[in-house]
Symmetry: C2
Subunit: 159 residues, 2 copies
């Protein structure tokens, strides 16, 4: 799961990709956010082979994103539940989904995100918590600290 190729990259984004493993595993996280818990549910939803699913579920458990709970002893059967760490990937999943709705499918998905209190459909946008401004490359720009890679210090203003 922890790919060696990211070892030298002390960057939160690289380290996150490393933890989640393959892109594809994020679809399991998405399905778990959608309430699926059992092996056969994930398999039906994703249409992947039992072997692949077993491997990915194990990786996600090892990374602390899912936890396994035994719900039947005979036959032995486990269910899979998001940890707090896994649930915190919801913004990543929803940011990807928002991009896909805008740039790929150009329609809403089959599962909708709603305000639990009012039932109003959500329109997810990444904002700055302090100012409430939407984050775009025009309104928010990057600055490099002194420990940033030299090629970034060359290109960016100092932080």
């Amino acid at each position: 799961m922890r790919h060696k190729r990211f070892d030298g990259m002390d960057c939160p984004t690289a380290r996150t990709l490393d933890q989640v493993g393959e892109w594809w595993s994020l679809l399991i996280v998405r399905d778990a956010l959608h309430g699926l818990t059992r092996f056969d549910e994930f398999q039906q939803s994703l249409g992947i082979s039992p072997n692949s699913l077993t491997r990915r579920l194990t990786e996600l458990c090892d990374a602390g994103l899912l936890e396994r709970r035994r719900y039947s002893e005979r036959p032995p059967r486990d269910s899979y539940h998001l940890t707090a760490r896994g649930r915190d990937l919801q913004p990543v999943v929803e940011a990807l989904a928002a991009w896909g709705r805008k740039h790929v499918t150009r329609k809403k998905g089959n599962v909708r995100l709603r305000d639990a209190e009012t039932g109003a459909e959500a329109d997810p946008v990444l904002t700055d918590r302090n100012s409430g401004k939407p984050i775009t490359p025009d309104t928010f720009t990057y600055a490099a600290t002194r420990t940033a890679h030299p090629v970034k210090r060359d290109r960016l203003p100092p932080a």
Copy 2:
């Protein structure tokens, strides 16, 4: 680039993963957001082989996330720039980075995102555009449309 395994999955998240290709390519998008444009800059920052970088840059251009511009004829040299479609991945990159800062590195990265106007450091959070509420699995829940997969219709309230 367009992986066959997602073909049957008519979901904005799956389709996005499909477009971006491998996870790893998102680090090139991140570096492009940080202002890098040239082959040798990406290579220095990411420390990958020229062959891998060439392939990934080509994939990102083919997917319409980067565009190539010739900046020198002798020797022939291209630079790579985010398209509008590629720039719109910033929320995905920043959501991943925020998760990594919280759950993996537990510190800020070497490149900081700042309000272009005020210079204040950003604290990116996914919110609902209409209500301004932060999106978490407690405050926003999912509902299934009639075209959702049966396992999701079983688990979720109707949309």
